[in-house]
Amino acid sequence: MSDSVNSQSLQSVFESTVPFGVVLWIVIALLVVVIALLVAMVLYVRKQRVALMPEMAQQAILNAEERAQAIVADAQAQARDLRNELEKERTRALHEDHQSVERFLDAYRFNLEKTIKELSYGVEKEHMRATTRFVESLQAIEQRVAMNAEEAKHSMDSFTDQSSQLFTRLSHEIANVEKGIQHLALALEEAAVDESDRNAEIVRKEMQKIGQETAKSVTEVAAGLDKALRMNIEKEFAAITSELSEYREARMRAVNERLLLLLEETAQIALQKKLSLQDQADLVYRSLEEAKRRGVFV
């Protein structure tokens, strides 16, 4: 845009200077013609001097001189007018150029301010977005922890229910087995009346063996169930504890960061207001010494 403005101004100035050159040439040409006329007249007068009377010749020379002076004056006046006109044109063109440049600068300033405002707005927006995202992520962690705790509670309840049902079923089964064994024992005792003592003894032993094995199997199943239940509860508890710990740490980190920032801002204000120039200078020296100790200047 700047280039186009400059080229327009150059063009207008160029256009305004071309006629000026032409006019100069016209003026020079007119002067040459006048001089030529004068020379011709002088030659003519000299040639005719013999024939003319001295008074007439003098008059003719005077008339010629007057005419020549009139022509020169006229040419000078025209040249002056033209020069004035050109000067006006040039001033007008310069004024227009100046206005164009001013307009361009105004537009440029406006665009620059607009861009700066947009950038500033963008930065603020980005800051807000980042803060919002941070808060949202914290809220998400909080929600996830709460949800996990709820799920864990639910699964524990469900597991406890299932275990309780299993125990009930197991007790029922044990009762049934015991009942069956009692029935079988009664039936066998009745049968044993008619059988020999040896047979009855063998049956009794078998009965005892079956009873012992059943009791052992039931105890093992119950122990396994108890172990599985315990492991599941411990696993769920560990997961919840870990989630809670992560959440607490994230929360503490955020709080501590904010705390330090706040502390720094407060201390900055306090130090600027409370410290004397000498104290400030001492702090500068202390920092420079610290930098030197840390090998920054090596």
Partner: protein, 169 residues
């Protein structure tokens, strides 16, 4: 000769801003002294109205030292432009401080750098409230923060613990 002139100038000049100002004053003074016929004006006559008394004393010391070292005024005058152009070649450090210090204090900072870092170096002083509690500086094109922020960050854990103790009882 140029080295001698620069050395004399740096004897009592510690900041880039001061050096540029004093070179400008000397240029003006020599312009009057050397190019005005029969002129006997002193430095004070020519530049006293344009600078602090402290600065006037410094340039008067320059003139004395040039005379002691047999460096002619015209030679110094001709070297002024070159010295100003060659400023970038002088080692420098940009120091950020939280408040405006007086000229003596600034010179004292400059002397510290010459004593502890590099002789004949120049200081560019900038005021930045973020440097509260210490300072910051640019050395070898790297910014080093040794302000309150640095100290808090260094003792981050201890400070956090202390604050938490105070807050949570």
């Amino acid at each position: 000769m140029l080295v001698k002139i620069v050395s004399i100038m740096l004897e009592n000049t510690y900041t880039t801003d001061d050096l540029i100002e004093r070179i400008g004053l000397m240029r003006k003074y020599y312009g009057v002294k050397l190019f005005t016929e029969g002129n006997t004006a002193t430095l004070a006559d020519v530049v006293a109205s344009e600078c602090e008394p402290h600065t006037l004393t410094a340039v008067e010391q320059w003139e004395e030292r040039f005379a002691e070292s047999d460096v002619q005024s015209i030679v110094v005058y001709e070297a002024l432009d070159t010295v100003q152009e060659e400023l970038a070649g002088i080692p420098s450090v940009t120091l950020y401080v939280p408040v405006r210090f007086d000229a003596e204090q600034v010179e004292s900072f400059g002397a510290w750098f010459r004593e502890n870092v590099q002789p004949n170096m120049l200081l560019s002083l900038r005021i930045d409230p973020r440097a509260t509690g210490g300072c910051g500086f640019v050395w070898n094109d790297v910014y080093h923060d040794f302000s309150l922020h640095y100290y808090l960050d260094k003792e981050r854990d201890a400070v956090t613990e202390l604050v938490n103790e105070q807050v949570h009882g």
